[in-house]
């Protein structure tokens, strides 16, 4: 299906992440001074991720699914190395990694042209290279008439198209799609991105896809993990993981429904009893 090989481009070993949030953190000098006299502070410990071990190979399309607050975002930040893991963890990545999330990665006050040059050069492209692919990026994003318009005036769809277009043309080896397609309603763009997806896969780029839209993960990914409350609940073929996740989701929904029903029943009985009295 693709140019996947045995080279591991992302390796996580014993990765855990604990957040310590103080009830009233000292963010100002005043707080710090007052804190000297009031040493007893409640510290809330949140174990966002626990003992994650993961290997992603070059050219693989890998999915990460899980409900809200399960630790997906934290995992992405750790992979991007924009956050530090707890002691004892190893995170190794090979190649330039780019995260694509809606509305992020661009300066809203700069024009599309400037954002392309800033992002492109940060991603390792020379100015001459960016100039040579500039028209292509604009054409792909379908924003020919808005090249010098500040990005803050762009619609969600235009934003997403431009970002995706930069990512496709830049030489980032690993693309991290963080809920990237979920928010775009543009059918045309969805079709286009599916085609682009295949092209990217053929180029041998690694794709890590984080999504609530689990069908997307099933459609595009070969392997996937399901994270639940900070631990990997299941790892394996994307089909199987997504099916298990949906099954579990249905079960939970059914359980919730049943509980709600029981609660309503109880209330009704109580009311009846009261009326009878």
């Amino acid at each position: 299906m693709n140019q996947q090989n045995d080279e591991i481009v992302v390796r996580l070993k014993n990765v855990s992440k604990t957040f310590f949030s103080k009830q009233n953190p000292s963010v100002s000098i005043r707080d710090l001074a007052l804190g000297l006299f009031n040493r007893r502070k409640e510290v809330k410990v949140v174990k966002a991720l626990q003992n994650i071990n993961l290997e992603i190979r070059k050219g693989e399309t890998f999915g990460i699914i899980g409900s809200n607050g399960s630790g997906k975002s934290t995992l992405i930040h750790l992979m991007m190395q924009s956050m530090k893991p707890d002691e004892g963890a190893t995170i190794e990545t090979k190649g330039v990694m780019l995260r694509l999330a809606l509305g992020m990665g661009m300066d809203p006050n700069l024009s599309a042209r400037e954002n392309i040059f800033v992002n492109g050069s940060i991603l390792g492209l020379s100015f001459s290279h960016i100039s040579s692919i500039f028209d292509e990026i604009i054409a792909y994003a379908n924003i020919e008439d808005f090249v010098d318009t500040p990005v803050k005036h762009f619609s969600k769809g235009m934003h997403a198209r431009l970002k995706f277009s930069i990512a496709l043309h830049a030489n980032a080896e690993i693309l991290l799609l963080d809920e990237f397609f979920g928010g775009v309603g543009d059918q045309d763009f969805r079709k286009k991105s599916t085609r682009a997806f295949k092209k990217v896969i053929l180029q041998g780029k690694t794709i890590i896809m984080v999504s609530h839209a689990v069908q997307n993960v099933k459609k595009h990914c070969e392997r996937a993990i399901w994270i639940d409350k900070g631990i990997i609940k299941m790892e394996g073929a994307a089909d199987a993981v997504v099916d298990a996740y949906i099954e579990n989701f249905k079960l939970l929904e059914a359980k919730k429904e049943l509980e709600e029903k029981e609660l309503k029943e109880k209330k009704r009985n109580r009311r009846k009893k009261r009326n009878a009295e």
Binding site: F19, S26, V27, S28, I29, R30, L32, H77, M80, Q81, S82, M83, K84, T93, V96, M97, L98, R99, L100, A101, M104, G105, M106, D107, N109, L110, E114, F117, V118, N119, S121, I122, L123, G124, L125, S126, F127, S128, A172
Partner: protein, 265 residues
């Protein structure tokens, strides 16, 4: 022709994409700072000129403190100090302001600070040229020691970069550092020979010239461009060493702590 020359030079520098990147971010920062306004780059000059007018009015007319070219004397201090303060103040919030890049792309974070300092220095160099033109215009002689001027500018650049790095890391943990820094702006300006003559900074007051890392640089810039005197090497070496020390501390702190900026945001 020019672009060909530029490409040739860039090709000779190893990893030239890094320099392009730094230049691009500096360019857009500079543009954002000045070109979204009606008067554009002129603001870089108008701001110190306005302060100069206020100080001149207060000290020369009300305070009757008049020396030869007193206005130029103050103007030199204003452009040096304002460049240092404006650039370091922008540096304080840099990790926050560039979060959109930090979160999404892997690259050397130091480049953001080099770009910020470079953007700040574009305005400074513009003012320095204006200052030199005025100095020559009023008959201040050009002395051979002017060859050291670029080194003094580089000294100020490294110092600004180092202090920006340190302040940005402090800002991760203490958000109100910018209030402290704006207070220091006042303190630093008045405790160096910005308005008062050098002769006042003798005896025990000389220590002020050693405490403020910008003071020695200002003294030497003034020696060259105002008094037509040779530079004072004791200040030159001390300030250069101090700037490098600040830079090394700043770079170490950035590498160790930048990842916490997302958590603490």
């Amino acid at each position: 022709m020019l672009s060909k020359l530029k490409t040739n030079i860039l090709n000779k520098i190893p990893d030239n994409n890094r320099y392009e990147r730094i230049w691009k971010i500096a360019q857009v920062d500079f543009k954002k700072r000045y070109f979204n306004t009606k008067l554009g780059l002129l603001w870089a000059l108008i701001n110190p000129l306005f302060r100069l007018f206020v100080f001149y009015f207060v000290f020369a007319w009300i305070g009757r403190m008049r020396g030869d070219n007193f206005g130029i004397y103050i103007f030199g201090a204003l452009i040096v100090w304002m460049s240092f303060m404006e650039t370091t103040s922008a540096g304080i919030r840099l990790l926050h302001a560039k979060k959109y890049l930090l979160m999404n792309i892997q690259f050397n974070k130091l480049d953001l600070f080099i770009s910020n300092t470079t953007a700040g220095f574009m305005g400074f160099l513009f003012n320095l040229v204006a200052y030199m033109i005025i100095s020559i215009g009023v008959g201040i002689p050009i002395i051979p020691d002017i060859v050291w001027l670029p080194l003094l500018v580089i000294n100020l650049y490294i110092l600004t970069l180092g202090v920006s790095l340190i302040l940005a890391v402090i800002n991760i943990y203490l958000k109100d550092i910018h209030h402290v820094w704006s207070m220091y702006s006042l303190l630093g300006f008045w405790t160096m020979p910005s308005i008062f003559p050098m002769e006042r900074f003798t005896g025990y007051l000389e220590i002020l010239l050693w405490i403020n890392p910008v003071a020695g640089i200002l003294v030497n810039i003034r020696n060259i461009l105002f008094y037509g005197k040779p530079i004072e090497w004791k200040f030159f070496f001390y300030n250069f060493a101090l700037a490098i020390l600040f830079y090394l501390i700043g770079e170490y702190l950035l590498n160790k702590h930048w990842q916490n900026s997302l958590e603490k945001a």
